[in-house]
């Protein structure tokens, strides 16, 4: 803990990350405070002679529209960006939690199970790790019905394809933990496998799994942004940063601010989470003090 308090990168990262989480959590309030919502078109503020680029400097930034307008539609960018934070962070956090749950389950089962269970589960993990995640996720997301709840679906798909790493780490740690004397003592006093897993193994897994999960979170955010960028993410009009950047590919010549605002926020958020993950790793896992693995 003391090491974390002295880690400047961690502190800055944690501050920005917390701010972003706050923004995502209070998106409706923030949009209301700005007096805007993310669906209303403001055609009158667009320059129709230039194909719908916002009027005014810097993408139409004004007292009414704090971050300007979306080119083409004139929707308020501030409202879209804060709601976009909700999607990006929500999906990434959801996917990470699911991945950790699946990974812990499979990893401890493999580590504590017999040779057969371990063999089969390890094969399964290898298979999952070898999957071309992005390619399969695109196919999956394109064929499920459009009216299913999209963010939930995104989180599930990312998690189902991405739990391999957590499972591998969990298995490895479990294999070393199970040889400890206190585990043997628990077994001798008649504890069942489930009780051993929960009471003896799980506490020992906290540090390695937590550090790994902290790094998974920004990775999942990148995946979500990528999927939204490719058009298989959340459905319009729900905004997400990746989806905005995808629209921006056709507008960046006329309206660079439309790239810079969602892109900058995405980068800042990702960077802050990576800094947090890096700080956690250094504090909790002193064996590997090297930057990121």
């Amino acid at each position: 803990m003391r090491a974390l308090r002295r880690d400047r990168g961690f502190l800055v990262g944690a501050a920005i990350a917390l701010l972003m989480i706050l923004v995502a959590a209070t998106a409706p309030l923030l949009a209301a405070a700005a007096g805007q919502d993310y669906t209303t078109y403001h055609d009158n503020l667009l320059d129709s002679a230039r194909g719908g680029v916002p009027l005014g400097r810097l993408g139409g930034i004004s007292g009414d529209h704090w971050l300007g307008l979306e080119p083409g539609t004139g929707r308020d960018l501030f409202a879209r960006v804060v709601y976009g934070a909700q999607v990006s962070l929500g999906v990434a956090v959801g996917a990470t939690i699911l991945e950790v749950l699946i990974g812990l389950l499979v990893g401890t089962a493999a580590g504590l199970g017999g040779r057969w269970a371990d063999g089969i589960l390890t094969r399964l993990v290898d298979l999952v790790l070898a999957l071309p995640i992005l390619v399969i996720a695109i196919s999956l997301l394109a064929i499920v019905p459009q009216d299913w709840p999209r963010p939930l679906l995104l989180a599930t798909v990312i998690a189902v394809l991405g739990w391999g790493g957590t499972a591998r780490i969990t298995r490895g740690e479990t294999l070393t933990l199970r040889t400890r004397d206190y585990v043997a003592a628990a077994r001798l006093s008649g504890a069942g496998w489930f009780r051993i897993a929960r009471r003896e193994i799980l506490p020992g897994l906290t540090a390695p799994v937590l550090t790994y999960a902290a790094l998974l979170l920004p990775t999942n955010m990148v995946v979500e942004a990528g999927l939204s960028f490719l058009g298989v993410g959340v459905r319009p009009p729900t905004p997400s940063w990746g989806q905005m950047l995808s629209t921006a590919t056709t507008w960046f010549r006329a309206d660079p601010m439309y790239v810079i605002i969602p892109g900058g926020l995405l980068f800042l958020t990702l960077l802050s989470f990576v800094l947090v993950a890096n700080g956690l790793r250094r504090a909790l896992d002193p064996r590997q003090s090297e930057v990121l693995r």
Partner: protein, 329 residues
């Protein structure tokens, strides 16, 4: 060695088998009927049945899948009106959308993705090893910091964001480079490289940081070893020590990483190609997915799966080749 290769091959076939089965199952469960899309508006039930038969989607899913597997191994015949048309051995079927053989489509698009992946890999290897070497020798402290920062940033920035910013800077603001369009290497090598430069850089940023970090760590680790001290005591010139001894040890992990990364780049090229509008395999996939073009989706997925499996095997073999301590099991 032979046994190892056989086991590896068996595993690879199993992975690809599982992948194709997964996709077939999913598309079969999918609510949209590709035949309806192909048949178009004003489709009569008789015509629809004909189309379904021609596309081979009127059979139960397991029969379809069996036909698909047979097609890969031995080729297969498709009903086309009164005649049949033959699709030779590694047959992945015909695109529902364009009616071209999937293998031809893939062969058409692969050079683009390969150009992208190779260029980016070469660029990141050169830049990464160079920066890592300088940082590792502690010649430039600031470089060490830059590498560290890049590693963190590289982990955090998605390819398409780098791509967008590069386009914004070099094509719009400075106007130094044209907007990327693919020119085949054989047509005009200079135009090929010029057009692919930005996509290469966008892809390379992240890898460069990773390679630089690895090289730096490797160099520092090897320089601390006993045999280096011995070499210094013998009075060998420092440049020779670095080149012949330290670098060699430091680059070992890079060998395997390169093979794996090449395949990874090909997969993540979905984003780069879409971003820059390059007609590669990734773009083919995105288009096919939106049109529910099952044969193309399965074809692309199998191809990327195959590439990853091959890359992993090559990485293992290379590792055993460069490091005599490693034994293949």
């Amino acid at each position: 060695m032979i046994g190892y290769l056989a086991r590896r091959l068996g595993g690879a076939v199993l992975v690809l088998f599982g992948l194709s089965l997964l996709l077939y199952g999913l598309f079969y469960l999918a609510p949209s009927d590709p035949a309806v899309l192909t048949c178009g508006k004003g489709c009569t039930p008789e015509r629809l049945a004909e189309v379904r038969h021609a596309m081979g989607v009127d059979d139960p899913v397991f029969t379809q899948y069996r036909h698909f597997l047979e097609g890969i191994v031995a080729g297969r015949d498709y009903p086309a009106g009164p005649n049949t048309r033959h699709c030779p051995a590694p047959c992945l079927g015909y695109s529902f959308e364009t009616d071209q053989p999937v293998t031809a489509l893939l062969a058409d698009r692969l050079p683009v993705s390969a150009s992208l992946a190779f260029g980016a890999e070469v660029l990141s290897l050169v830049a990464g090893i160079g920066a890592g070497l300088l940082a590792g020798l502690r010649r430039y402290r600031w470089l060490d910091r830059v590498v560290n920062g890049l590693v963190l940033a590289g982990y955090a920035v998605p390819v398409f964001l780098v791509g967008l910013l590069l386009l914004l800077l070099f094509c719009v603001q400075l106007q130094w480079l044209p907007f990327p369009t693919y020119v085949p290497l054989t047509t005009d090598p200079l135009a090929w490289a010029q057009n692919l430069l930005l996509p290469w850089v966008a892809l390379a940023v992240i890898q460069t940081a990773a390679y630089a970090r690895l090289t730096r760590a490797g160099i520092q680790e090897t320089l601390a070893e006993d045999h280096i001290r011995t070499a210094r005591a013998y009075g060998l010139p420092e440049s020779r020590i670095v080149r012949r001894r330290a670098l060699r040890g430091a680059l070992l992990p890079l060998v395997t990483l390169t093979a794996i990364d090449l395949a990874a780049i090909m997969t993540s090229a979905v984003l780069t190609e879409t971003m820059f509008g390059l007609p590669g395999v990734g773009q083919l996939l995105v288009g096919a997915v939106n049109q529910i073009d099952l044969p193309v989706v399965v074809g692309v997925t199998l191809l990327t799966g195959l590439l990853i499996v091959i890359a992993n095997a090559v990485a293992d073999l290379l590792y055993a080749a460069v490091d005599p301590r490693v034994e293949l099991r």
